[in-house]
Symmetry: C2
Subunit: 232 residues, 2 copies
């Protein structure tokens, strides 16, 4: 029951049973990877043609993307791919800080011993990967998210899990991709992950929350300077 096996966390294997959902996934990737440029206008007929479906399910896909905040939409005026700015990312990181802080607290309360064991193993795995590849970007990025995802799951709070995994992480992925590779920080992050895991293992709710919040607000400070440097 504990073994989410690998790096990738939640993408389903068997493809979605409906056109709208499959198209939603496609467009989502295209936006995160930057193939659909930020701020570009979405024209329903064009996209429907491009993805080979009719406007009905495409519309549903767009609405789902709006829900995830990858697309912004104005009645009768159409929709555009979102444009990330510092202001918005600050909102995201602040929300994430409070939500993941709570998740860590709940995880410290509720995580099973087996899960804790498995979490620790995950971090060993990360440590190995770091010393091997020494800064291999992609792996670490997803590894980082993997850790946070586990904590969110362990919180057993469906609402929080859904918001983190469904919305916030997507936007952060997109931001990372758009900002190119930024400094590795892998070693520091791993160290902090270890401390958080230790606090959880000790069932110290207060400390787990505190450390998680520090970890995230620290990450924000770095991302912030990068974003600001970029736009000046």
């Amino acid at each position: 029951m504990t073994g989410t096996p690998s790096i990738v966390n939640a993408e389903e294997v068997h493809e979605s049973p409906t056109l709208a959902l499959r198209t939603f996934d496609s467009i989502k990737s295209d936006i995160i990877n930057g193939e659909l440029a930020q701020g570009s206008k979405i024209v329903e007929s064009d996209l429907a043609l491009k993805y080979g479906i009719s406007r009905g399910p495409l519309r549903e896909a767009i609405h789902r993307l709006e829900r995830i905040k990858l697309i912004v939409r104005i009645p009768h005026a159409g929709s555009r791919v979102i444009t990330l700015d510092t202001r918005m990312m600050e909102d995201i990181y602040n929300a994430r800080e409070s939500l993941e802080g709570m998740a860590a607290r709940l995880a410290a309360r509720l995580m099973s011993d087996a899960e804790i064991e498995s979490l620790s193993a995950l971090l060993d795995q990360h440590a190995a990967a770091i010393s091997e590849t020494d800064g291999k970007a992609y792996f670490q990025r997803e590894g980082d998210i993997d850790f946070h995802y586990r904590v969110a799951v362990a919180s057993q709070n469906q609402w929080i899990l859904e918001k983190l995994n469904g919305e916030l992480y997507q936007l952060i992925r997109m931001c990372r991709h758009q900002s190119g590779q930024f400094p590795s920080r892998a070693q520091t992050a791993l160290e902090q992950h270890r401390q958080i895991a230790a606090a959880i293992a000790r069932r110290d709710e207060e400390l787990a929350e505190l450390l998680m919040r520090r970890h995230i607000s620290g990450a924000w400070e770095i991302v912030k300077t990068i974003l600001e440097d970029q736009n000046d």
Copy 2:
């Protein structure tokens, strides 16, 4: 710029420009008021007929309700009105605690002096209303939400504001409605609101967050016992 005049917080005046949105509002009210019973199955054709529109926009309305978590939906299997249980409400209140705690912190940092003044005035208004009507239920409920809404706005965090006002408060309203009138607690709540407002006025971020979280977790303790008594 400060004067949101009255109790009701954000319902737009001029009705929505699209059928789907208007129907969304209608169904939302019907669910919150219990006219559409919890757990009842939603059949698209039936509802479309009932609201006098075609299935297209109705479908969009349903998707929006799913986004708000008032409806749960399974591909090919249809959708049902959500059924509130203690488990889910606990998730909601925990999420709310962390998010509103952060909102209070940000409010203490960012709220303008005029807004603070206005917030204080709102509380005076509430105090007057309480001593007048001494436990007039509806007013106090909305008054309570009004206070929390103001703090969320003052946080200037769009993501948090949207989640609180768009999702969490709706579910709490629904829960309150379904649970009938529960004990007033108006005096206690007002007192706590005052302390929170004072902390914000003092620009004490730490304390504002702490008090807000206590306030909400306290409210949850009460709601929890009510819910448990009901189902046993």
